[in-house]
């Protein structure tokens, strides 16, 4: 949903949303929450965060999940997919219809959508494929063609294989044990698909090693790639600075940027994959780093606004 300028309403909202359903989907869970304000602002690639464990929880950090789908029913619902593998996600899996959850969103920078009807390859690893289906719908609105390439360790961990087959021009599935589709990993198949589908742009979402591989292959075939990264987050709104990774800017300067607000979607070739988990020596503000000039890059030279201090007497 967009406003008159064709842009979604800006900013995120924190709401108490009513759980509509929690259902098993193969190895994962999908939760649908009634949250009209989040649904209205959503664009593909964005995520939500949820508080887990109830009002007196000992688990302080919100859990973040990319949005799988939004629907107009009940005023607007949001669906996300998760693997119940820790105490926080198990608590979520135990929620029932009509329970209330504290949910914030939509957060992060969405996938950019091409202006022209081009050929798009959507690559997903595990339940990382969850945000790709709403992206595919948006791409089809722009008359883009969509090819899917989904992979996981086993067949029950490939999320959305059926939807991909139903909605994609082609859908290629890989599993490491060969239980579904071709035996192997997604990156084994990319080259062949790019050539056959004449791919113009790749969108990828999944574990970091996969994104790194997809980016390197996309470079080899000279296809632009947009990746949605999965980094450990504490707040999801840009204040805690835990989810940073080294990204080279268009000005050539590498900065430690927050994957929650500057991301989670980045141009793959701008992420310095070899340096993720480190502070590269040439990163903005790294030890020994020297500014090229005293002027801070990317900032207007505006003078601070004058204002009297504090409240009146």
């Amino acid at each position: 949903m967009t406003n008159g300028n064709g842009e979604a309403e800006a900013g995120a909202v924190q709401v108490r949303g009513t759980v509509l359903t929690v259902r098993r989907v193969d190895a994962y869970h999908a939760m649908t929450v009634v949250a009209p304000a989040i649904a209205a602002r959503f664009r593909p690639g964005q995520f939500v965060t949820l508080a887990v464990g109830g009002p007196v929880t000992s688990m302080l950090l919100r859990r973040s999940f990319s949005i799988h789908d939004v629907r107009p029913d009940h005023g607007g619902t949001v669906e996300f997919v998760f693997a119940a593998q820790g105490p926080g996600t198990r608590w979520l899996a135990e929620r029932r219809s009509r329970d209330v959850v504290d949910i914030t969103g939509p957060l992060g920078r969405p996938f950019p959508i091409p202006r022209d009807p081009v050929s798009c390859l959507l690559v997903g690893g595990g339940y990382g494929s969850a945000p790709l289906f709403s992206l595919a719908a948006r791409l089809r609105e722009r008359r883009c063609t969509v090819d899917f390439l989904l992979g996981a360790a086993t067949g029950d961990r490939v999320f959305g294989a059926l939807t991909a087959r139903r909605t994609g021009r082609t859908a290629t599935i890989t599993t490491e044990d060969g239980s579904l589709g071709a035996r192997g990993i997604v990156t084994d198949m990319i080259g062949q698909i790019i050539l056959e589908a004449r791919t113009d742009v790749i969108y990828a979402c999944g574990p970091m090693p996969m994104l790194r591989q997809v980016t390197s292959l996309a470079r080899r075939y000279d296809v632009p790639v947009q990746v949605a990264v999965e980094e450990l987050m504490a707040c999801g709104i840009g204040v805690c600075m835990t989810c940073v990774l080294p990204v080279a800017g268009t000005d050539g300067i590498t900065r430690m940027v927050r994957s929650c607000v500057e991301g989670p979607v980045f141009r793959g070739e701008q992420v310095r994959w070899d340096d993720v988990g480190t502070i590269p020596f040439d990163a903005f503000g790294a030890p020994g780093w020297e500014p090229r000039s005293r002027r801070v890059p990317g900032l207007p030279g505006a003078r601070p606004a004058a204002r009297s201090r504090g409240a009146g007497p």
């Binding site: 302080l60 914030t104 707040c235 835990t242 990774l245 988990g277 503000g285 780093w289 801070v296 606004a305």
Partner: protein
């Protein structure tokens, strides 16, 4: 009756005593989508340094029972960008700005104090001499009374006379009162208690430390009793020095606990990660708590727990 929440910060009056805690609210901009940042007492910014700083490698965070470890390492854009971009934004929103500063040397702290004094609109300076996420423990000035004194002395000399200077102290010391006394003697207008505790977590699957920086600062409700103890001890020794209390405040009741121990203002920190609108909720809950106890003004509750048993109750019921 609606309790009077107004509180003082130096000569300035704040609408209420609830602030953000440094490092948990950026410079306020991100939180503004969840509540009006001018409606809380003040925004305490993430510690600003002279030069841009990239911080420590990732992973920088680990969840612990009722808390978390962080090892950010003071990532930030530096004072130039702060003065050009962040401070004007805060002031344009009508928020009060308490600027936290951090440095590696006494001179860096002094230079930061000068730069902030030249800018308009700084409500107070919080001197972060206690960040545990630095390469050398020797840089934690708050672990040594002499070092703490020299930093606070330099900042107080360079900061404009009407900007109050608060020293943020570490609970990781044998005698926090000795450090507090040194800071007060050096001219600190107040004390911020407490910074995070140095902690560590090990992943039993990989059998390696969770944090890339190995150690990190422990925060969250898990450390609230430590905060209450530190505030209590310092208030007992230095009853006239204003205290900004912080450490695991999650609700208005928690804020009241720190106020009863002796805090005049209370910062909400890690809880913001759990609930981005926590600050404004704590303001509301504190108001309800005070009303429930029949306290007309929040300043009447400051340090009330130090009075003899029964004194607080008698005062409330008007027997005395």
């Amino acid at each position: 009756m609606t309790p009077d929440l107004r509180a003082r910060l130096g000569q300035a009056e704040l609408p209420n005593p609830i602030l953000t805690a440094s490092g948990c609210a950026g410079a306020g901009r991100e939180l503004a989508q969840f509540f009006d940042v001018s409606k809380i007492g003040a925004v305490v910014t993430k510690s600003v340094m002279l030069a841009p700083r990239a911080g420590r490698p990732t992973p920088r965070m680990a969840e612990t029972p009722s808390g978390m470890l962080n090892s950010i390492g003071l990532q930030g854009p530096g004072i130039d960008a702060f003065l050009q971009r962040d401070l004007p934004w805060l002031l344009s929103r009508g928020a009060r700005a308490v600027v936290s500063i951090a440095g590696g040397t006494v001179d860096e702290f002094a230079e930061l104090a000068t730069r902030l004094s030249d800018a308009a609109g700084v409500s107070a300076i919080e001197v972060n001499i206690s960040c545990p996420n630095v390469e050398h423990r020797g840089q934690v000035f708050a672990c040594d009374p002499g070092a703490a004194e020299s930093v606070i002395d330099a900042v107080r000399r360079r900061a404009r006379y009407d900007i109050p200077v608060f020293a943020k102290l570490s609970p990781d010391v044998t005698d926090i009162v000795a450090i507090a006394r040194a800071c007060a003697a050096a001219g600190a207008d107040g004390l911020s208690l407490i910074n995070t505790l140095l902690g560590m977590a090990i992943d039993t699957e990989t059998m390696r430390p969770v944090l890339a920086g190995l150690t990190g600062g422990l925060s969250g409700p898990a450390i609230r009793p430590v905060a209450v103890r530190c505030i209590w001890q310092v208030r007992e020794a230095l009853p006239d020095v204003p205290i900004i209390g912080m450490g695991g405040v999650r609700t208005g009741k928690d804020a009241l606990e720190l106020i009863l121990a002796g805090a005049t203002l209370v910062s909400v920190g890690t809880t913001i990660f759990h609930d981005p609108s926590a600050c404004i909720r704590v303001v509301r809950e504190l108001e309800e708590e005070l009303a429930r106890h029949g306290l007309e003004r929040v300043c009447d509750a400051v340090g009330l727990a130090h009075e003899p048993r029964g004194a607080a109750r008698r005062r409330l019921t008007g027997i005395l």
